[in-house]
Amino acid sequence: MGWKRTSRRELLKASAAVAGGFTLGDIAALQAQAHDHPPTPGSQNDHPMILGSKELTEYGQRSRYVTSVRIAHPIGGRPSPDAFGKQFHIATPLQDSVGVITPSSLHYVATTRGSYMPDIDPKLHTLTIHGLVDQPLTLTMDDLKRFPSVTRLHFIECAGNRHTPQQKTVQETHGMTSCAEWTGVPLSTLLKECGLKGGATWFVAEGAEEVKGASSMPITKAMDDCLIAYGMNGEALRPQNGFPVRLIPPGFEGIFHTKYLRRIKVVDRYYMNYNDFGHLRADPKELALSEQIGPKSVITYPSGGQQLPGRGFYEISGLAWSGGGAIRTVEVSTDGGKKWNLAELKTTPQRMAHVRFGYQWTWDGSATEILSRATDEIGQVQALREQIAQWWNVPVERNYRVPGLDNSIMPWKIAKDGSVTNGLA
């Protein structure tokens, strides 16, 4: 065997050298200089050429000129990775986003208390459903993929996605939301397969990471639209997003989207898991605002830290989403909220998914403030912080904390010199 391999390799080397007129050494040298090799003078090629490589053949990568990356969230908070190699919170670069899909590499990441990513062999992973069911069920990943699948767009947003006067960019203010195409099996399919027993009112979803994060959710949510997702943006989930399988309860706060899903227990009451303890509130109104996400939108261009080159035409662009359903309308104001104009929806609004909006605007060069406001299909309207404070009957202070998830309107200030800054500052 050994000599055969050697001889084949020798043969290949020889034939490559003959066919291409290069030795392997020449090719390596060419590859090394590919990026700074200038075009031949007089040729019609304006740019250096990227040499093909095994890596580019197998799994493509973006241009070296596209440098948009995620950052640890919040600024000045715990780093990711930390000194122990644990992941904490990582925010999506929304300022550079186009369309509604967040690339898997740029999807936001959050972990309950800082966590290592489990390196799960999908052949060994199982999902077990038990508790108040007629027949418990254990599924391998292969089993799971045999069930009828669905593919849907859904956003996930972290409860920590709050905007404050101290933040500078939209990545800092809103980067803890992302939207991906998820493929999997409806949880209702699996629960019907098991058969729900009387008294089944809640379920606990549990992950396989080291803390075995678990959350209680209503069984009505499970039967309505929860997805057991193994696919993300056309390929397998990434480890940071729960490989090989995670729960998607569309429109619920991020923490409910249990990653590395290994167990679902159907129960007859709220189980008050550690993750649920994080939602413990004195006020039932505030608690209700910490489950399903409200209507929300943000302008991603122009946004904090960006610079308008001068007066003239711009298309204001942004994202809108709601945990209550699809977005019905988005309005944009370019005069600090005096007049609201209907924005154009650039994509078909889908339930619990980002929609891209645009508004055509000619800037006259004067200082102003731009804002966006989303309304969803069940009539919930995104509000100014002042309106929310008024509803709660509290004064609006600079660092006013919106109860529940912060879905208040985000203002961006545009100065005469075209610089864009946080309107809350």
Partner: protein
């Protein structure tokens, strides 16, 4: 051996005969397998408020103080749960202060002692999660509840007594309203 083999032969037959037709809602796809009761018992680490899933075992605060030292809890949480890098575990405010004005410490504010037990077993000690014995978890739970003056130092926690521990919060916390699809997150809240 003989009886074991008999079981091996008979079991699938029994499941086949009794299993499928017995259920009102028979499986549609028939994909996957039924886990054994023992498999479920081993993986079911969810301890609900009734404590029905608690394993046998027992422990007191005195024993828990020793476990807290032995298992290295002190390294992250500090001696007696104070002054470490990890979250503090002992309240510094008096019992006369209303619970919602006191610290957000699990073995103080949790409505159920079972949640404390559940989290210690599933989530601690960091890097060696899930390695504590039932007795060690009962002991640590007792110790942390004692540090927060929820139970007495000599109180024994076990399957029966743990779910009965009266937590200081009592019933003074919000319950989730019934969630319904396609409805606002909070009725009457326009935003």
């Amino acid at each position: 051996m003989g009886s074991l083999r008999l079981v091996t032969i008979l079991l699938p037959t029994i499941v086949l005969l009794v299993g499928s037709p017995a259920f009102a809602q028979s499986p549609t796809y028939g994909v996957g397998r039924t886990p054994t009761a023992e498999e479920i018992r081993r993986m079911d680490i969810s301890i609900g408020p009734t404590g029905e899933e608690l394993p046998p075992g027992r422990g007191t605060a005195k024993e828990g103080a020793q476990v807290f030292e032995q298992k290295g809890c002190v390294a992250c949480h500090g001696p007696a749960g104070l002054g470490g890098m990890a979250p503090e575990l002992q309240s510094k405010k008096g019992q006369d202060v209303p619970i919602w004005k006191r610290e957000r410490i699990l073995p103080l504010r949790s409505p159920f002692a079972t949640t404390v037990w559940d989290y210690i077993r599933r989530g601690m000690p960091a890097m060696n999660e899930g390695t504590l014995t039932a007795n060690e978890v009962y002991s640590l739970t007792a110790y942390l509840l004692f540090l927060n003056k929820v139970i007495a130092e000599d109180e024994v926690l076990d399957q029966q007594s743990l779910p009965k521990v009266k937590m200081p919060i009592g019933d003074d916390y919000a319950k989730l309203h019934e969630w319904k699809p396609r409805t606002p997150r909070l009725e009457g809240y326009p935003y």
